[in-house]
C-alpha cells in the first residue's frame, strides 16, 4: 500500500466532561484533498487542531509520511510532543490556515511571509524575499507586499495567510473553514486560490461549509458527527447518495442554499 502523507489512528479528545473526538482514524494519500464537513460543534476544528498538536489529544497516533509523532502523556493526562526538535520540524512541514487568518499585525504582508522561512528554516533573507514575492504574486497580492494586515480586506488577509503557509513548502496543508469569516463577495477569490493548490496536487484537509467547492475539488468527503466519522467517500457518492440519515439531513440543509463560489 502506498504510504499515507498523513495518518491518524484512534484519535480521542475531551474537554473536561465533554468528549469531542471519540476515536477517529483517517489517512490522506499524497496529493489527496479531503473535505471535512459536519454540523457546528461536531469536532471538525478540534480534529484538525489535534493533527499538529495545537490541541493535545487524549489518545491516538499521528503519523507523517511514515514518521510517527513522538508523544508522551503529560500530568493532565493528555498527549504532548515528547521531542521538541521533532514537533518543530513536523509543524514546519504542516501548513495551517485559520478561519480568522491570524496574520501577525505588526509585520507587513511580506514580513509575515518571510518570517518563518528566515527564522525557522534559516533561509537567507534575500532568497526568502524573492520566493515570498513569487508567492504573493501567485495569490494576487503583489501590490500589497508592504501593507500591514489591518489595511487589507478579509479575502486579501486570508490569501496572505495562505502565502505565509506556502512559504514553508508544507507537505500537508490543513485549512479550518478558510472562508467562513469572509463577506460573501470575498469567498470566491480565496476558494480560487485553494482550488489552484488542489490542482497542483497538494495534500490538503479542509474543513468547509462550501459544499459546491467540496464536491468540485475534494477527492474524498468525510462527514463528522458528534466526534465520529459518520460517512465518508468520494464526493459524487456522498453528495449523490448519502447512506447515513444524519448526513442526508445535513446535506439537505447545506446544499439547498447555493454556496458562494464565483469562479
Amino acid at each position: 500500500m502506498e504510504q499515507a502523507a498523513i495518518e491518524l489512528r484512534g484519535i480521542k479528545k475531551r474537554f473536561g466532561e465533554l468528549e469531542v473526538i471519540k476515536g477517529i482514524d483517517l489517512a490522506a494519500r499524497r496529493g489527496e484533498v479531503i473535505a471535512l464537513i459536519g454540523t457546528s460543534g461536531s469536532g471538525k476544528s478540534t480534529l484538525l487542531r489535534c493533527i499538529n498538536l495545537l490541541e493535545a489529544p487524549d489518545e491516538g497516533e499521528i503519523i507523517f509520511d511514515g514518521e510517527a509523532l513522538d508523544l508522551k502523556r503529560g500530568r493532565d493526562g493528555t498527549l504532548h510532543a515528547a521531542n521538541r526538535e521533532q514537533i518543530t520540524r513536523l509543524r514546519a512541514g504542516i501548513g495551517f490556515v485559520f478561519q480568522n487568518f491570524n496574520l501577525w499585525p505588526h509585520m507587513t504582508v511580506l514580513d509575515n511571509v518571510i518570517e518563518a522561512p528566515v527564522h525557522v528554516l534559516g533561509i537567507p533573507r534575500k532568497q526568502a524575499l524573492a520566493e515570498a514575492e513569487t508567492l504573493l504574486e501567485k495569490v494576487g497580492l503583489a501590490e500589497k507586499q508592504r501593507t500591514y494586515p489591518a489595511f487589507l480586506s478579509g479575502g486579501q488577509q486570508q490569501r496572505a495567510a495562505i502565502a505565509r503557509t506556502l512559504a514553508m513548502h508544507p507537505a500537508v496543508i490543513l485549512l479550518d473553514e478558510p472562508t467562513s469569516a469572509l463577506d460573501p463577495e470575498l469567498v470566491g477569490e480565496v476558494l480560487g486560490v485553494i482550488r489552484q493548490l488542489a490542482e497542483e496536487g497538494r495534500t490538503m484537509l479542509i474543513v468547509t461549509h462550501e459544499m459546491r467547492f467540496a464536491r468540485d475539488v475534494a477527492h474524498r468527503v468525510v462527514f463528522l458527527h458528534a466526534g465520529r466519522i459518520e460517512e465518508e467517500g468520494p464526493p459524487s457518492r456522498v453528495f449523490g447518495n448519502p447512506r447515513s440519515e444524519r448526513c442526508r439531513a445535513f446535506l439537505a440543509t447545506h446544499l439547498a442554499e447555493p454556496q458562494g463560489e464565483s469562479n
Binding site: N52, L54, W104, H119, A150
Partner: protein, 228 residues
C-alpha cells in the same frame, strides 16, 4: 512675587531637571529590563514560575516609594557584605540609591502592565507561530514581546509620568534633583512660592518632553494599526 529670584535660580533648577530626567530615564530602562522576565514568568503555565516574582511585585506596589528609598539608602549600609563589595563606592551615593529604588519600584508596575499586554496578544497569533514551527523562545522574541510592547506603550507612558513625579522624593536623601535644588535655594532665599512654581513649570516641561517622545515611538511602532 519675586520674579528676579525665579530668573536667577533658573540655571540651577535646569541642572536639577536634568538630574531628574536622568533618574527617570535610567531607572525606566533598567526597570523594563527587570520587568520583562518577571512579566514572562507571570504568564507561565507553571504555577511555581508564576509565583516567583509575586513577592517583588506586591512589596514594591504595596509600600510607599519613600519607604523604599529610605530602605535602600539607610538599609544597604547595614550589611557588611555590601560595605565590603566593590560596588560600595556607588551604593553609598544617594544618586545610585535613588536609581536602585526607582528601578525596583517601576519594574513592579511595569511587569504588571506588560503581563496584561502579553495576555491580550490574541491566542491565534501565537498559534499561527506554533503552526509554522517556531520554538517557544522564537515566539517570545518575534511575536509575543514585540506585540506586547506595542500594546503596553500607552499604559507604560503613564507609568513613566508617575515615575517622574515620584522622583521628587529623591530630594529627601540629599539628591540635587529638580525638587532638591528648589528646596536648597528656598532654604537660602525664603521664597518657596517662586521656587516651587518654577520647579512645577519645569516638571510640566519634562512631562511634555516625555509624552512627546512616547508619541513619536508610538506613531512609529503602531503604524500597523488601522487609523481611526
Amino acid at each position: 512675587m519675586n520674579w528676579q529670584v525665579m530668573i536667577d535660580s533658573f540655571p540651577a533648577l535646569a541642572e536639577g531637571a536634568l538630574i531628574t530626567l536622568e533618574l527617570v530615564v535610567i531607572s525606566g530602562i533598567l526597570g523594563v529590563l527587570l520587568a520583562v522576565p518577571m512579566a514572562m514568568a507571570r504568564v507561565s503555565p507553571r504555577p511555581w514560575l508564576r509565583a516567583l516574582p509575586l513577592a517583588h511585585i506586591y512589596f514594591f506596589r504595596g509600600t510607599p516609594l519613600l519607604v523604599q528609598i529610605y530602605l535602600v539608602y539607610y538599609g544597604l549600609g547595614q550589611f557588611e557584605a555590601v560595605r565590603d563589595s566593590v560596588l560600595w563606592p556607588y551604593l553609598r551615593e544617594a544618586y545610585w540609591c535613588a536609581i536602585i529604588a526607582f528601578t525596583l519600584n517601576t519594574s513592579a508596575y511595569t511587569a504588571e502592565i506588560l503581563r496584561g499586554a502579553i495576555q491580550s496578544v490574541p491566542r491565534g497569533e501565537v498559534e499561527a507561530a506554533e503552526t509554522v514551527g517556531m520554538s517557544p523562545a522564537l515566539i517570545w522574541r518575534r511575536i509575543r514581546l514585540p506585540r506586547a510592547f506595542r500594546i503596553a506603550l500607552p499604559a507604560y507612558s503613564n507609568e513613566v509620568i508617575l515615575m517622574l513625579k515620584g522622583s521628587a522624593l529623591a530630594s529627601t536623601i540629599t539628591l540635587m534633583d529638580l525638587t532638591g535644588v528648589a528646596r536648597t535655594i528656598i532654604a537660602r532665599t525664603y521664597t518657596p512660592v517662586e521656587l516651587f512654581l518654577a520647579a512645577g513649570l519645569l516638571y510640566v516641561v519634562l512631562a511634555f518632553l516625555i509624552l512627546g517622545g512616547f508619541r513619536l515611538v508610538e506613531r512609529r511602532l503602531n503604524r500597523h494599526l488601522q487609523p481611526g
